[in-house]
């Protein structure tokens, strides 16, 4: 048994797991904090919606598309000056979080947009007929009705972030993905590769299970 996992340094694994979870938690919180309002704005300013604003919508949509079309690995480098300005370093976990958020927030915003689009228009119409303000419609009707779709969007985004964190190793953020590349791939330590991949798999499973559970609770209708 020990032979099979000869190259595995469990201390490294633990440190890497911690780094991955920290990056994931930090970037997910910020992604939701930025992406949710962005997605709401994308939806509401669209044609025929509550706060139709053609130019605002066009601008937001363009920025989102630009950010989504830059590969994450490129974004990591392009962002370095901004990252330094923002968090004081472009290295480590702190240095990885800004590019993770900039990459994931537009993605999450699009998911939010489509979750809101799936809400029955009649509900919004009913709220309007009752004399609700746009703010009351958004907070009281639109977002609560979209809850199952929104939790599913958070789940998908969290899983995507797990795989992005693997690339954050290039700026020295560490993490399980980084370990898999440096030891498992570059040093041919297949056992390290297997252990890290299994741990990532477990992490993704846990995220998905929690996400599914919460989504199911909200969609109990």
């Amino acid at each position: 048994m020990t032979n099979l996992l000869a190259n595995v340094d469990w201390g490294d694994i633990l440190a890497a797991s911690e780094a991955t979870v920290l990056m994931l938690a930090g970037s997910l919180v910020l992604t939701v904090a930025i992406g949710l309002p962005l997605g709401v704005a994308l939806f509401l300013t669209d044609k025929g919606e509550l706060l139709e604003q053609r130019w605002v919508r066009g601008g937001l949509s363009f920025v989102v598309n630009v950010l989504r079309s830059v590969p994450f690995i490129i974004l990591l480098f392009v962002m370095i000056p901004f990252t330094v300005a923002l968090v004081g370093t472009s290295l480590g976990i702190a240095g990885a979080i800004p590019p993770l958020v900039v990459s994931a927030a537009p993605f999450f915003a699009r998911l939010v947009e489509s979750a809101l689009r799936a809400v029955d228009r009649g509900v919004v119409e009913a709220a309007q007929a009752m004399g609700a303000t746009p703010r009351q419609i958004i907070l009281g009707a639109l977002l609560p009705e979209a809850k199952p779709g929104l939790t599913a969007a958070v789940t998908v985004t969290a899983v995507a972030l797990v795989s992005y964190t693997a690339m954050a190793g290039v700026v020295g953020a560490g993490g399980l993905g980084d370990l898999a590349v440096r030891f498992g791939y570059q040093r041919f330590q297949t056992d390290v590769m297997v252990v890290t991949v299994v741990l990532l798999l477990v992490l993704v499973q846990i995220i998905q299970m929690i996400g599914d559970f919460v989504t199911a609770r909200f969609s109990r209708r």
């Binding site: 009649g122 509900v123 119409e125 309007q128 007929a129 009752m130 004399g131 009351q136 109990r220 209708r221």
Partner: protein, 333 residues
């Protein structure tokens, strides 16, 4: 007639799109709904009913014309003032439009929470009262997904009544319900109209709905009102072919034969008078009945008979019918 109408549309039109692709959903509609009446708007699908009813609370803004509510032009109001008016205009929908994520009670509480200034305890108590009024007090904590169509529409109704509106707009409110549930819903609307003096404007494609509860009806075709009047009148003596079609009141096939085919139309007390036999005897006219209907609307009996008259003095017979208060229409095409 001294009382001003509660709702008035003046030359109201709604056009979607612009240029060559523009479609006129509602064209130059003039309409006055009186306080405490049940006003029906009937038309086939695509006639512009949905747009028309949404003009009343400005969910659709008219492209031209005015929308008056209690004498005030809604189009000129600020957004905040418009929202305040909308609280006095309740609305229920064909597909209920309830919040699926909230319980029946929370759905009813929703409009009350919008107003602000009401204590949560007061909101809850009032919501319970409203659910009680529509007979759903035992379902307060259920989500819409656990309720039947009829129950959902009752929740919708309780919600629409929450802010004590002076008008209730019903957008095909019974179309998604089975006939029995639909009848119960209509009875409930009629009760509310009678007990609270609630003015109701409803749109429908079913004449039965109009017959059952409405006082007056407007027939909408191609975005225009083609016929408007008291329900009994429109039923008895429809002027437009579209109205007859909605009534499914096909003219009986032209009877092969002799004599003059006429349509007799009557309402009120004369319905139960033994006129036909007496006049036939007195004028020596023979009659054969081709089609007929005797029914009542809001307690007023009415009848229609299509018959052929032969022999004797047909003109004298028709004159006697007219003298007795029966309308005579030549049915020969």
């Amino acid at each position: 007639m001294a009382e001003p109408p509660l709702i008035e549309l003046i030359d109201a039109s709604k056009t979607y799109g612009a240029g060559p692709n523009a479609t006129a959903a509602v064209q130059a509609v003039n309409l006055a709904v009186r306080a405490k009446e049940i006003f029906g708007i009937i038309g086939e699908s695509g006639a512009g009913k949905s747009t028309l009813i949404r003009l009343i609370n400005l969910l659709e803004r008219p492209t031209s014309g005015q929308v008056l509510f209690e004498g005030e032009d809604l189009c000129t109001l600020s957004p905040a003032a418009l929202r305040a008016r909308r609280r006095r205009i309740g609305m229920i929908f064909q597909h209920f439009n309830l919040l699926a994520s909230k319980t029946a009670l929370e759905n009813v509480a929703f409009p009350l929470r919008l107003e602000g200034g009401l204590a949560p305890r007061a909101i809850k108590a009032r919501s319970r009262d409203l659910l009680d009024r529509v007979g759903l007090s035992t379902h307060a904590d259920k989500h819409p997904g656990e309720l039947s169509g009829g129950q959902k529409q009752r929740v919708g109704l309780a919600r629409a009544l929450a802010c004590n509106p002076s008008v209730l707009l019903c957008d095909e409110a019974t179309s998604a319900l089975d006939p029995q549930t639909s009848d119960q819903m209509l009875d409930l609307l009629a009760d509310l109209n009678r007990d609270l003096g609630l003015t109701i404007v409803l749109i429908t494609h079913e004449m039965e709905v109009v017959r059952r509860v409405c006082d007056r009806v407007a027939v909408l075709d191609g975005g225009r009102i083609v016929e408007l009047g008291e329900v009994v009148e429109v039923f008895l003596d429809p002027q437009q072919s579209i109205t007859r079609r909605l009534l499914r009141d096909e003219e009986p096939p032209n009877p092969a034969g002799e004599g003059r085919t006429v349509r007799l139309i009557y309402r009120g007390a004369v319905t139960s008078a033994p006129l036909l036999g007496r006049i036939a005897r007195e004028t020596g006219v023979d009659y054969s009945i081709h089609a007929g209907r005797v029914s009542s609307i809001k307690g007023e009996p009415y009848g229609q008979l299509t018959l052929s008259l032969t022999g004797g003095d047909v003109d004298a017979a028709l004159a006697r019918f007219a003298a007795a208060g029966v309308r005579v229409r030549e049915a020969n095409s």
